[in-house]
Symmetry: D3
Subunit: 232 residues, 6 copies
């Protein structure tokens, strides 16, 4: 499927995207049963941003950013561009010119399983990138890849139109069809944590709030005053 560009992908509303970004990666990852998380080597080039949007995907060749130009034409406002690489690579496939173009089209940010450069400029212009590396090395435009096909990016499968949520904790992928359900589950989860957070802040223990003591006992937990006691 090299050299393929798919034009139509499912999208979801900016309202849903806002809801996802507000909940954040850790909560949503839990809310969908601990799946869809990219590997933790994917880090933001600067701290702070939290974004969400439908994925436009790119499968790129190592050291070759030609397909990013092709992909930009397929991006709509609110999208998140996701670049997977055909093989492990950390070249700097993305810099401030491409970011200028993406920003002009209203793209929310970039997820790239390779390198990124011009990070000072990207930070100044406020275009968020999650990447595997910061690397000044440039790339060629010599070999075709594909746009909007399913890819594996940093260990997670991304189908075009899936929701991408990214913040300081990393990047999570939510299947397009599950966005509503996961958002909803995430909100319930967050609601449940408010009460717990207050009780914990007041000094109550998780051991009691979650009623862990009986099960710990059943599993054979043993309290001693000192290790020396064990030898008696």
């Amino acid at each position: 499927m090299n050299g393929l560009v798919v034009r139509h992908i499912p999208r979801f509303s900016a309202e849903l995207a806002g809801g996802l970004a507000a909940l954040g990666v850790a909560t949503l990852h839990e809310a969908q049963g601990r799946s869809g998380l990219m590997q933790p080597y994917m880090r933001p080039i600067y701290r702070g941003p939290a974004i969400a949007g439908p994925a436009v995907t790119v499968l790129a060749q190592p050291g070759d950013n030609w397909m990013l130009h092709v992909a930009i034409e397929q991006c709509h406002p609110g999208d998140v561009l996701v670049v997977a690489c055909a093989t492990e690579n950390s070249d700097g496939m993305f810099g401030d010119l491409l970011a200028t173009s993406l920003k002009a089209r209203g793209v929310r940010g970039l997820i790239i399983d390779a390198g990124c450069r011009d990070v000072a400029a990207l930070t100044d212009m406020g275009f968020p990138v999650w990447s595997k590396a910061i690397n000044a090395r440039g790339t060629v435009k010599a070999t075709l890849g594909s746009v909007n096909i399913p890819v594996v990016c940093a260990g997670a499968r991304v189908v075009p139109g899936d929701a991408i949520v990214a913040d300081d904790d990393g990047v999570v992928v939510i299947p397009n069809a599950a966005v509503d359900k996961v958002l909803s589950a995430g909100r319930q989860r967050e609601q449940a944590e408010i009460d717990k957070r207050m009780r914990l802040a007041a000094g109550e223990l998780g051991l009691d709030i979650y009623s862990m003591r009986p099960r710990l006992k059943e599993y054979g937990i043993r309290y001693v005053d000192t290790l020396a006691e064990l030898d008696d």
Copy 2:
């Protein structure tokens, strides 16, 4: 020794802890003969904090943070929680709820040889963590580990009650019985550096301050104007 919780550990005064935190990791590591340093992959989730306190230790199973809840009950104000993992793991064992609970008990910070999540929230609430990774992936509560047994964390042995000192340079462990002596040696070391720092700032060379020239000569150092000269 799985499923064991030891209640009593030696501690040292907040005053000593303050002294250690002020000297910092690099100085104390030198002062105790260059031992006790955790591996450099242990990094603070945000820059700036410098803490010290007696270690409450946890040996956790991979992908399982159950024992952290058990450990919190054993923490006193001023303690530092140290989490070692039974096997290499970077799951996000620790987040803002556990931090809220630790903060309520006056714990100074967390050292975890695994992952940490909710880092934006932790930064906002000012709870310092040194970890191996930032990772949104959550954990189960299914298998017992132990609390307050000796562990190896990031390559350093930690006995409960040992002093943990952590800052932007990393994390160092000082045996409980050696705290006074190492603090003292650290202060002398720091004192000695003040004079050197001023002389170096004034342009004097380390070569002269430390009288290195004779030993360099003895070891055979050879000065030439250019490499070409060697071929003559």
Copy 3:
């Protein structure tokens, strides 16, 4: 060539250095044909600084910073000190005392293929370092290395007097004899990007600006509305 110190190296003007620093690593790396880049594991200890200057080189032994003291005497104002290591090592060979000395001599910064410590102090005093690791572990002064011989640092060859340029994107080496030509090529490159940046910001596509469509077609690019279409 152990124990060798070369006194005379070629240098270039502060004006040229200023020009290089202003263009930055990514642009200059491109301008010299994508060569000379150090590996991307070389990272600044704090974000922001952009420096350039002639390289004074050190080949150090693992865990031994003796030759750094020797090298400082060979540094002139405006130089950049480059430390390669005879074998892979991440010990903290460099800290605030050596930085004080380098700063007193007007050295612009340090590139070290090993560890750095006292990073809070270095940040406060504004002395920029690009290193492989942050590591509190100290070093001995027991074995000779060399100063101002050609070295391989983080995968790039550095001949004494070569230009070192370092910023948030990494570190690039430019042969001394090529500084003028590369600076010139870099400026042309930057000039050419200004127009493109404006057109991209206005919404024009790289596909059109760079006339990529015919070549993509020639290489066999294929646009479809949906993947399902392919099965028909």
Copy 4:
């Protein structure tokens, strides 16, 4: 989808499997357009074996091999068991007892994105394993995963019933529906190489066999006798 076991998966004939194994990973990876390759860290525990068969998949929790027991019941003669892990883990999830059970059911081999142990015994009994690590550390049976759901294993997506081919070069995944086509393409590829191999063995150059010279010239290749010549 935790705790899910799917009973029915598509399979393909032993004859096709034999054909795939004979062609090998490198050829088949090319034949299907350079997709489906697992990351190169997946290595055989001993050299020599070349296997192929339909994938029975497991999604396991880190440090927990419970689901392998569940999966074995779903295996048919000729299958290849593929174990993905919910998070990066190298614990020794698999050893000689599980291998004995798999062998008794006619399973051809194991692909595991985690650790393997008892490798001396596995070598003696001739049960081939491709794994991320050799690791004696045992695992618990405490948390559910799933069997025969789509997984990402070592960077490659595996749908149950897909063909797995593994040899000394690594592991490749071929979608079940594409097995015939890829086998066919692989055979053509192999046929084409026989002639080339003989010509190359006879001393002909790839430059001529593949008619590369004109295109190299078009791309600007330049032959010189010595580098010095360039400076003239």
Copy 5:
């Protein structure tokens, strides 16, 4: 504790050592509650050997093998030499001359958390080594370390006189005082596995042998014929 050499360490009989070597690393690691395993990057330089013996320990400086010569004098027939490094290092600290000396003293093998060289010669002479790397780079003799002090080697604590067991699966450490108990527990474990191995070889399932079905049910396992079924 630099420059310290401890002469007397506890040892255990050759008979016990033989028993440990016969059981192997995986079984003994389980038998002592899954503790004491070195990290899996420790690999034998050639496959096959299985050894056990009391540990003589060395704490060496990076790139410096001086203390190995000091340690050899402290070795008795049947010992295993364990070399930890003060900092991460993979230099080739050990080669055929040191091996000749160790063999002459009846030492069973070497465990080194650094590099090893002359591996062809070591293989020919049958001296087994478990190391972090194979590396031709030689080392100096310039800085003191210590012999027979407690060390952390590849993530495991080793006290002089502890039992070291090493085979194709890796390296495990058993506290000297626990050798009898662990050997005994290991033998029981092995005995128990003989019956299971025969039942598994006969086609019985672990699910039944270990009575896993009820607990899987309790944890909510769910069998379906196809994934499609779930959407109904």
Copy 6:
């Protein structure tokens, strides 16, 4: 210097090559002052071969083996082909067809700072390769690199015509002009070791053979019977 092919390089005699191969990497690395060693991640695809010859160098683009075809034409019998990569890459750039061609031209082996495939076939045909990875992933022929220019390969600088020596311990580079001198120094070194090996085999200690005791004493070595003794 992209797209450049240099035709003439210095070579040395097959006799000298034989002498180098017989001495081996570890000895020659020492004999030339511990320089020129490639990083230890360069491993032979099968154990046993020991080769030496003048380097024909290639600078290749990531994922692109076009220049290997160009390089083969420049190879003479007895040469060793050295492939450096413009950026970190582990794609399988080399397989049995290229090996057939190199063998036909009398090339002794391949050193490649990237991946290699068809390793079973390469082993069968006895063509030795030292590589960074074994990887079935194929490459394109789309971008020019260069042949016979100086490169940095696996951390070592290689000038065309330099001697490459490779065996089970790794790969070392010796400058063409230094071959005679290093071979000579290597032979002296080997001669000196014969006597030492016999004395060590007879049970004499390195401490005595190398007269280390006085210097150890001077450096402050301290022998105690037990650690407990220190507390008295």
